[in-house]
Amino acid sequence: MGGGAMPEQGGGGKKKKKSLDATINVVPAIDLLSCLITFLLYAAVWTQISRLQVQQLGTGAPDPAQLEQQQKALIVTLAMGERGFNLSTSAGTTFEVPSLGRTPEGSIQFDLKVLGERLKQLKNDYPDQSAITVQAEDTVAYGDLVSVIDACLAVGLMSIAVSGV
C-alpha cells in the first residue's frame, strides 16, 4: 500500500541508471495519525467557557494598609436596576444611563453601548483606576450582570466587586 510512485526501469543502455524515485511506506504515518486523531477526539473541548473573576464586596477582614489605600483611591460604583445604570464616583461625578425598556419576554433591556462609552470616558479621566463596584438589584438577570462585567473588563477595569443594592 505504498503511496509513492513506482521506480522507473532503466533505459536501453548497457549501464542501468538508478531510479531517483523512491517508494515511501506511509503505513506507519497513517497508524500514528489514526492514534493521534483518536486521542485528540477524546480530549477535545467543543464549548469554550471562560471565567469572569469577581469579588463579593465586604468579604474578609480588611488589611489596615489596604484600607488606608482604598480610602485614598477613587471609588467607582455602577448601580444597575429597573431604571438602567447609575455610574458614580467618590469624586462626585454621576452619569445616568436609562434602560431601553423591556424585551417581549419581560427582561430589562440595558443600554450597554452608552455604558461602554461612559466607562471608556471614566477610564480616560482616571487611567490608573482599575477597581469598580457593581451593585445589582434583585431583579437583574445573571446574563445582564455578566454583560456589564464584560463591559467593565473591556475598558480595563479589572478588579470588579459585585454586591446587592
Binding site: 471562560s50 469572569l52 468579604t59 445573571y142 462585567i149
Partner: protein
C-alpha cells in the same frame, strides 16, 4: 459452433500481440491493486491540526447542562479547576450533587446564606485541606466557579455568592461562553485580590 462468452473477440493474429492483446482482454490482469493513500493522509493531517486547535490541557471543567444557558462574554479568562456551583432556573447543583430547589429559596426565611450549599462547600474545603495537609507550599485560594443560567435573577446569585463567601470561597468566577477568544484578556488571575 462452440458457445463463446459474449464480448470482444479479437482476431487470432492480435491475441498474441503485446500491444493489442491486453486491450482486447487476452492479457492477465494483476490481482494486486495500488491504492493511492495520499488524499487520506492529507485528510488525516487536516483533522489532526483541527483537533489540536480544539485541545484543552485542563479538560472540561464545566459541563454544559440542558437547563443552563450561559451568557457570552468577550473578555473572559481561561477557566480554572475549582468546585462548580451550577444554578439553573429550577435547582442548584454543586459538583454533581443537588442542593435546594430555587423555588424553595424564595419561600424560606430570607437569610442570605443557603445552609445546604454552604455545608457542601465546607466539605469541599475540608477535602482540599486533607489532600494538601502535607504540602507546606499549598495556599488556599478559595476559587469557586458559578455557572448560572442567563435568566437566573440576581437575588438567587447573590445568595449563592454569600454562601460561597461564608464557606471560605472568596474568589468567585462567573462562567460565560467565550465569544472573543481567551487570549483577549491578559490580566493576571489574582488581580485585585
Amino acid at each position: 459452433m462452440a458457445i463463446v462468452q459474449p464480448g470482444k473477440r479479437p482476431a487470432k493474429r492480435f491475441e498474441k500481440s503485446k500491444v493489442l492483446g491486453g486491450k482486447m482482454g487476452g492479457g492477465h490482469k494483476a490481482t494486486n491493486a495500488e491504492l493511492n493513500v495520499v488524499p487520506m493522509v492529507d485528510m488525516m493531517t487536516m483533522l489532526v491540526i483541527f483537533l489540536l486547535n480544539q485541545f484543552s490541557s485542563t479538560g472540561e471543567v464545566l459541563y454544559m447542562q440542558k437547563d443552563i444557558k450561559l451568557p457570552s462574554a468577550h473578555h473572559g479568562q481561561m477557566i480554572e479547576l475549582a468546585p462548580v456551583v451550577a444554578v439553573s432556573s429550577e435547582q442548584i447543583v454543586i459538583t454533581g450533587q443537588k442542593v435546594p430547589y430555587v423555588a424553595d429559596l424564595d419561600k424560606d426565611s430570607g437569610y442570605l446564606n443557603i445552609p445546604a450549599l454552604e455545608e457542601r462547600l465546607r466539605d469541599e474545603k475540608k477535602r482540599w485541606e486533607f489532600i494538601h495537609q502535607s504540602d507546606p507550599n499549598a495556599k488556599w485560594d478559595g476559587i469557586v466557579n458559578i455557572q448560572a443560567d442567563t435568566k437566573v435573577p440576581f437575588r438567587i446569585v447573590k445568595r449563592v455568592m454569600f454562601s460561597c463567601s461564608v464557606a471560605g470561597y472568596f474568589n468567585l468566577n462567573f462562567a460565560a461562553l467565550d465569544a472573543g477568544g481567551l487570549a483577549a484578556t491578559n490580566a493576571p488571575s489574582k488581580e485585585g485580590g
